[in-house]
């Protein structure tokens, strides 16, 4: 814990200047208006779901697998088209993907044939930014995520956490208004995840971007979010929204974070149990129930 605190401190000193100058575009609002999405011939992944994310808000979508968290993200990204309803960005209907809505995927999805720096410059190249400007911007971004030393490395030479930081730098390159993060830290170890959560919070506070963050980790959601959106399954839908009005920066081991997390987790558990029951034909019994049963007691068997 001590070394982590130290790391954050030195980072702030080193990066204070470039991060201030970095972001021009602030967050914009995005929303789903009674959206249903189903793959052809399948049950709806999400059914008649409405969600509004304010400009500069950090919303975490939490729920069990199959609750349509990633579907919502892909709809906002423009990678999926709703079966019915409307998906809006800054009050206008979304027509396909665009660099103003950047995505960070679970597996980073950096291009293996490019160096880290060229990866970060790729969206800038698409946007037609001249070379000199591109070089300056990629340096700034890589310094911000503490990867400047590795600018010439290829993705396979980096650890999972470094790749994910690279993906965040690439996502921020075009200065998007909305950052969509699809379980970005799910494959990382707990320590790395904690550091990256701190990075996301710092970037969020400095850039005022709108962030939609999908996770199945309740504590992560509570630690990061302004608002946690709890999702249920069959069909995917929103069960409850919980405002998390804790001061920032937060820590994963804070008591209040734990308190909120326990509340959200109990609600998710009942949802998961519901699915398990359906799948097991009602024969499934929740483990660790309140009734104490000790098989060795053998009450009455010796009579």
């Amino acid at each position: 814990m001590f070394s982590f605190a130290k790391l954050v401190e030195t980072d702030e000193v080193e990066d204070a200047a470039p991060t201030r100058a970095r972001s021009q575009r602030r967050g914009a609002s995005t929303s789903l208006d009674r959206v249903t999405f189903a793959y052809p011939g399948e049950a709806a992944a999400i059914a008649s779901t409405s969600l509004h994310v304010d400009a500069g808000e950090l919303v975490c979508l939490v729920g069990p697998s199959g609750s349509g968290k990633s579907t919502i993200l892909n709809l906002i990204a423009g990678l999926l088209v709703p079966t019915s309803g409307r998906v809006l960005f800054d009050e206008e209907a979304i027509r396909g993907p665009g660099p103003e809505r950047a995505v960070v995927f679970q597996d980073a999805a950096l291009f293996p044939w490019l160096t880290l720096r060229d990866n970060v410059e790729y969206p800038l190249k698409l946007a037609g930014m001249p070379k000199g400007e591109r070089r300056a911007r990629s340096e700034q971004l890589l310094r911000m995520v503490h990867l400047w030393k590795f600018e010439g490395s290829h993705p396979h030479q980096l650890s999972g956490g470094m790749r994910q930081r690279g993906a965040i730098a690439r996502a921020l390159a075009t200065d998007p208004a909305v950052l969509l993060m699809d379980e970005p830290f799910a494959a990382l170890d707990a320590q790395t995840r904690e550091i990256l959560q701190g990075e996301v919070e710092r970037i969020f506070q400095e850039t005022k971007k709108t962030i939609v963050f999908v996770t199945h980790n309740v504590r992560e959601a509570v630690r990061l979010a302004d608002r946690v959106v709890l999702m249920g399954t069959r069909p995917g839908r929103i069960l409850r929204e919980i405002a998390i009005d804790l001061p920032r920066p937060r820590r994963i081991d804070e008591e209040r974070v734990a308190w909120f997390a326990a509340d959200v987790a109990s609600e998710i558990r009942s949802e998961v149990e519901k699915i398990a029951k359906e799948e097991a034909d009602d024969a499934w019994v929740a483990p660790g129930g309140p009734v104490h049963v000790d098989p060795r007691r053998n009450l009455g068997s010796g009579i």
Binding site: A77, G96, P97, A102, A109, W113, P123, L126
Partner: protein
């Protein structure tokens, strides 16, 4: 004794090979990408490509001679058809196996259409395309030799035939050694380098 003859034969064959192979490479990669990315192309041309792929390219020589006469073009037709189909099939497979997440990521950054193909799909499929290109090179060389053997036109193939006519086993075997040398040279000068570059970037074990 054969000095001038051999040099001239090697030059003729190499020029033909490079010309035919580069056409096959461009055509094969384009066809492969189209097969993988365009449903209509796959449906209408796909079975044809696989069917024609099973025809040894030398079988095209009679048709080529009927259409183009005893010309360079006829030889090139055989070389191109020999190399094009394996390159196309390998490219198709490689493009199909590009991780969808890579393409999705590129689309969210605003890439689409030909730009997406050129800057993401083809580079991502490059290791597989390289495999097809290597295969295509050996197919091109084989087709060329077959063509030159049957069709008196200079080149290494014809030199083989000359050796047989003169009962000159040494010449015949020397030409075989030259062909092997040609293939090793191309491996050293081109494909080996590309292989190492792919290994460096993708993090595969270098061969």
């Amino acid at each position: 004794m054969h000095d001038r003859t051999v040099v001239r034969a090697v030059t003729t064959s190499v020029v033909r090979l490079l010309l035919g192979y580069s056409m096959a490479l461009v055509g094969g990669v384009l066809l492969g990408v189209a097969l993988a990315r365009a449903k209509a192309v796959k449906q209408f041309v796909g079975p044809l490509v696989l069917g024609l792929g099973s025809v040894p390219s030398i079988c095209w020589l009679p048709v080529a001679i009927l259409w183009f006469g005893l010309s360079e073009t006829s030889i090139q037709v055989v070389v191109v058809l020999g190399a094009l189909l394996p390159i196309a099939v390998a490219t198709e497979t490689a493009v199909r196996h590009v991780p969808p997440q890579i393409i999705r990521a590129a689309r969210t950054m605003g890439a689409s259409g030909p730009r997406l193909l050129a800057t993401v799909v083809v580079p991502a499929a490059f290791p597989g395309i390289l495999g097809g290109a290597k295969l295509g090179w050996t197919f091109a060389l084989r087709s060329l030799m077959a063509g030159e053997l049957l069709f008196v036109s200079g080149g290494l193939g014809q030199l083989l035939e000359t050796g047989r006519d003169l009962g000159d086993t040494a010449l015949v075997l020397a030409v075989v050694v030259l062909i092997v040398g040609l293939s090793r040279l191309s491996e050293w000068a081109l494909f080996g380098r590309l292989d190492r570059e792919v290994a460096r970037r993708w993090g595969a074990e270098p061969a």
